[in-house]
Symmetry: C2
Subunit: 352 residues, 2 copies
């Protein structure tokens, strides 16, 4: 009863072969004769043998594990990407380690440790705001740890990258508002130093410019990708006398917070204001009103990033040049955006 977990030795003894043969029978069956193979299988069955990954890792210097580092697991946007990554990794026989990214050296050190200690074979980074220098070191050293950056771009880093067309998508989202007749259009921004956030602002500005509209700085509301920041932005919106008739929000969460804040003061979407979001969260179609939003192909993004990373892990030469995949987002029109009704000159809104 007090037996330890069986090792390859036990299997070998039972099948009357050497451990080398057992190993071969299990990982390259074509190298052993049919009879031996059968005896080994049987022995595995009887002894209840399972591989000890630590032993294999040590010898092969690979852990069959990838490390996913992300800024916030709780964010449904990231968690659904993580989900896709896990699925892809699972089908290729890899485990997935997750790491929350906070600020400070502590985190970076942890990240480094995971990679350098052979616990993970590669890094899938879902955040562009990590110390680039350190990462470069990691990936260019002799150890050459494969890195794929997803969601956010680290400019000039030379890392493989999988992302969505943020600038273009933001431009199209804004264009949608313009097409509906809006001329007074504001933007609910993402975090100040966030790459994605900037790209979306760029797209927004570009659409305005293309339509010959001049940007109004007061209509750029500081935000933070979360509901609270959208809620606060609503307060600022309400305090203004010259208000926009439409808002492009950097993501759905802030859009929801914003709408929620407005509604408390009787400003109703889409009657009084049109709002387009970004991400197409699960709740978007069920919000009140259902949200018009840019849908990012989250599953595809996660899957492709994982694919790419594992490809490189298994064959560092696999991808020649640094890979750069850009996935197209799709505008989903629902009810939070509506055609401008009447004259545009009166900026005020009455409460219901």
């Amino acid at each position: 009863m007090e037996r330890k977990t069986p090792t390859i030795q036990d299997v070998a003894r039972f099948a009357n072969v050497s451990t080398a043969t057992v190993s071969r029978a299990l990982s390259s069956p074509e190298k052993v004769s049919e009879g031996t193979r059968a005896r080994v299988s049987e022995a595995v069955r009887v002894t209840g043998y399972t591989l000890n990954q630590a032993g294999r890792s040590l010898r092969q210097r690979s852990a069959k594990t990838i490390l996913v580092a992300l800024p916030d697991i709780r964010n449904p946007f990231f968690s659904s990407i993580l989900d896709a990554i896990e699925r892809e990794a699972a089908t290729r026989g890899y485990g997935v380690l997750v790491l929350n990214l906070y600020f400070g050296h502590e985190t970076i050190r942890r990240l480094q440790d995971f990679l350098l200690s052979n616990r993970a074979d590669g890094l899938l980074l879902l955040d562009g705001s990590v110390d680039t220098y350190l990462l470069q070191t990691l990936s260019s050293q002799a150890g050459a740890i494969p890195i794929v950056v997803a969601c956010e771009e680290i400019p000039n880093s030379g890392f493989h990258t999988v992302l969505t067309d943020n600038v273009d998508a933001a431009e199209r989202a804004t264009q949608h508002l313009i097409d509906l007749g809006h001329r007074r259009i504001g933007h609910l921004l993402g975090p100040e130093h966030n790459v994605v956030s900037r790209e979306r602002f760029t797209g927004f500005a570009r659409a305005l410019a293309a339509a010959g509209l001049s940007p109004v700085p007061e209509w750029n509301f500081r935000g933070n990708f979360d509901m609270e920041s959208g809620f606060s932005a609503a307060a600022r919106f309400l305090s203004m006398t010259e208000r926009p008739t439409a808002i492009f929000a950097a993501n759905d969460e802030s859009a929801i917070g914003f709408l929620s804040g407005l509604r408390q003061h009787g400003i109703i979407c889409p009657r009084d204001i049109s709002v387009v979001g970004f991400d197409d969260l699960g709740v978007a179609p069920h919000y009140v009103p259902p949200l018009t939003t840019m849908r990012q192909p989250r599953e595809a993004l996660g899957r492709m990033a994982a694919e790419a990373l594992i490809d490189v892990v298994e064959d560092p030469e696999a991808l020649g040049m640094p890979l750069r995949i850009v996935l197209r987002s799709e505008l989903v029109v629902r009810e939070s955006t509506a055609r401008m009704a009447r004259v545009d000159m009166e900026g005020g809104n009455r409460s219901s």
Copy 2:
């Protein structure tokens, strides 16, 4: 340039000591003289040494990693628990492997492999519907893999468990509706074979019974914890002539789907119906109307579960009896529930 990652040997050579001393200097510094310790530190710094976890795992038969198995990472309820788990694990120096649980033997085998192959030292299970027999085998064998079940209870399993007071919380949620004067109360169920879902139903029924109300089977709407199922339930609700005036939904997501479905047909909450949800998702305070809901202490749950698991991993005797922690949920009253207005006898609702 073509150097491999430095090993403990390199450090030893540089510091002019044996590998044994280096090992001790790093993991039990008190066993080494001060001078040597300094030389080793210096050597570590110069060589850029980092531990190879595979080597250590092999020798110590522990991976400093826990495995978290959950039914759906995308679900914000689970992802925020996962977040708390990761934080706790990080502070104790453990890595976190995640595993999506699907159905079928494939998944179970994977789970088993992870544990038996020494890739993880313990299992944190966020789902009660896994084959109990298999788990029992895992945890009672000589290997004795520590298991903690969180969120859901596996009755009579003898596993350590951390969960919330589902039955009681559901009873209190329902009681809240009763307190508001509702007498015709329905329930939007969770998945049929789900433990949590059943517990919440039990609490619901208990509250009804305590108030002397007789349950109406047609008012139990089949659901699935997701928005779509809530949305479909709304269709059934609308087709009924005798409708409840209040609904206790098994979770916020289904509550939102339900409300969204009703709203499309002009049934407005809380004017025409009161709804109480469960979980207090991030969107709950910003929904229209803001959702009354039972808030589960998700962070605490994740943290305590991780704590307990790591305690057991590090000292199998740490917890004597199977641990059972029950955390109390808290009713958050917002605007989706309102006092019954007039006579209760006319069940119909008019659209606006």
